[in-house]
């Protein structure tokens, strides 16, 4: 079960035809080689650190996930039921590849890993998340992040 053709036709059509923002600009930021980049994860899986309030629905805010967070402390509160959770249950790297990033940093493939990572709720209209996303960029800059891997579910 890997492609849209594997889904019920109505669901596949809804996903394929989902209205997306029509941006008028095409931003493009360059930077140093990968081995000098500081990388952060921004997920849209509705991830929350255990003890914090889960996302309640189509919330537009985001949650911080400190890099010291342990796998047993991370929960997924995405409102959608139409994606697999068993992969994340077995191994958080399926949706939040922090261990893999740390390994790449240890191997010198990337420069370093951000001090904090972040999660939105992906079912929210992206236009409603614009202000929060731009504010988040400021926090990422404060952490010297110059590369973001965006992880959906």
């Amino acid at each position: 079960m890997t492609r849209l053709t594997s889904l019920p036709p109505a669901q596949a059509q809804r996903l394929a035809e989902l209205e997306c923002p029509d941006f008028k600009t095409r931003p493009w930021v360059t930077g140093p080689t990968l081995s000098k980049r500081r990388v952060a994860i921004v997920s849209s899986a509705g991830l929350v650190v255990r003890g914090e309030n889960p996302f309640r629905g189509r919330d537009a805010d985001y949650r911080a996930i400190p890099a010291v967070t342990k796998p047993e402390e991370l929960l997924m509160s995405h409102i959608s039921i139409n994606f697999d959770r068993t992969g994340f249950q077995e191994d958080w790297n399926v949706a939040f590849p922090l261990d893999r990033l740390n390994e790449l940093a240890a191997d010198g493939m990337i420069g370093s890993v951000a001090r904090t990572h972040y999660s939105f709720m992906g079912a929210t209209d992206p236009v409603e998340m614009e202000l929060q996303a731009r504010e988040l960029a400021g926090r990422l800059k404060q952490d010297q992040v110059d590369a973001v891997i965006l992880s959906p579910v």
């Binding site: 079960m1 890997t2 492609r3 849209l4 019920p8 109505a10 669901q11 996903l15 997306c20 923002p21 600009t25 095409r26 931003p27 493009w28 930021v29 360059t30 930077g31 990968l34 921004v42 849209s44 255990r50 309030n53 309640r56 929960l75 509160s77 959608s80 039921i81 139409n82 994606f83 697999d84 959770r85 068993t86 992969g87 994340f88 249950q89 077995e90 790297n93 399926v94 949706a95 893999r100 390994e103 790449l104 939105f120 992906g122 992206p126 236009v127 998340m129 614009e130 988040l136 960029a137 800059k141 992040v145 110059d146 590369a147 973001v148 891997i149 965006l150 992880s151 959906p152 579910v153």
Partner: protein
């Protein structure tokens, strides 16, 4: 996801997105994206497949070094090796439903079933050291009781300040699903999501109760109840199988 990348890149930070639904990515036109042919929910592929996951992550990150954008959308060629069923997997045993089930018998069966999964869930915890149960902040037995009361038509009040009864119901259902799917995958043979999902939805009382909650919601005159129970209980793929 691609839209978030657009906003963050406009603020001066380079981004690369994993794409699970290629048409959406093609429409949004992010600076860089790597489409992966994996199941929704698995952007980096197989659980406990570190070498494979790292290949996906590196393939995405290397797009940051390209100079021929925007827009760059590349495809990851390999399928998730854990996407196929494991014939060696066996689900935990649960009592079968009796003929002529009523709301009360279903609710009682659900409450009796949850403790039967504890051994399997303990094995899961010992094996993996973590659980993703916890959104409701209620013990799993209480999650079962709360869902059972909804099946009985009691519409119990929320036990948690600041959370509506419907929201707690959704989180209790999420916790029960997580508990069962983790218990179902305890042990060495690892089922595909389809395999363990078949067991959950076809064989367990909790699965049947969640299907019943959806029916209760769709029949309700309360529009919020109808929306939440109708849309956020049973996955579309399971609804399609039932119809």
């Amino acid at each position: 996801m691609s839209a978030l990348g657009h906003y963050i890149e406009e603020e001066g930070i380079a981004t690369v997105a994993i794409s699970l639904i290629r048409p959406q990515t093609e429409n949004t036109k992010p600076p860089r994206a790597l489409w992966v042919p994996f199941e929704l929910g698995r952007p980096f592929g197989p659980p406990n497949g570190p070498a494979f996951q790292k290949r996906v992550l590196l393939a995405a990150l290397r797009l940051l070094e390209r100079e021929d954008g925007p827009v760059i959308i590349e495809d990851f060629a390999d399928d998730d090796p854990r996407g196929q069923p494991d014939p060696a997997w066996r689900p935990p045993q649960v009592p079968a439903a009796a003929a002529g089930s009523t709301a009360e018998t279903l609710a009682a069966r659900l409450e009796a079933e949850i403790p039967l999964l504890q051994g399997a869930h303990d094995r899961w915890l010992a094996q993996h050291g973590r659980t993703t149960v916890g959104l409701s902040a209620m013990p799993i037995i209480d999650c079962g009781r709360y869902v059972a009361d909804w099946v009985r038509g009691k519409a119990p009040s929320s036990p948690r300040d600041g959370f509506s009864a419907i929201l707690i119901l959704r989180f209790a259902v999420d916790d029960l699903k997580a508990y069962y799917l983790e218990a179902g995958a305890a042990g060495a043979p690892k089922p595909s999501s389809r395999q363990v999902g078949d067991w959950f939805w076809n064989d367990t009382a909790v699965g049947a109760a969640i299907v019943e909650l959806r029916a209760i919601g769709l029949a309700s005159a309360d529009e919020r109840l109808k929306a939440v129970l109708g849309n956020f209980m049973v996955p579309a793929v399971r609804v399609a199988m039932m119809s």
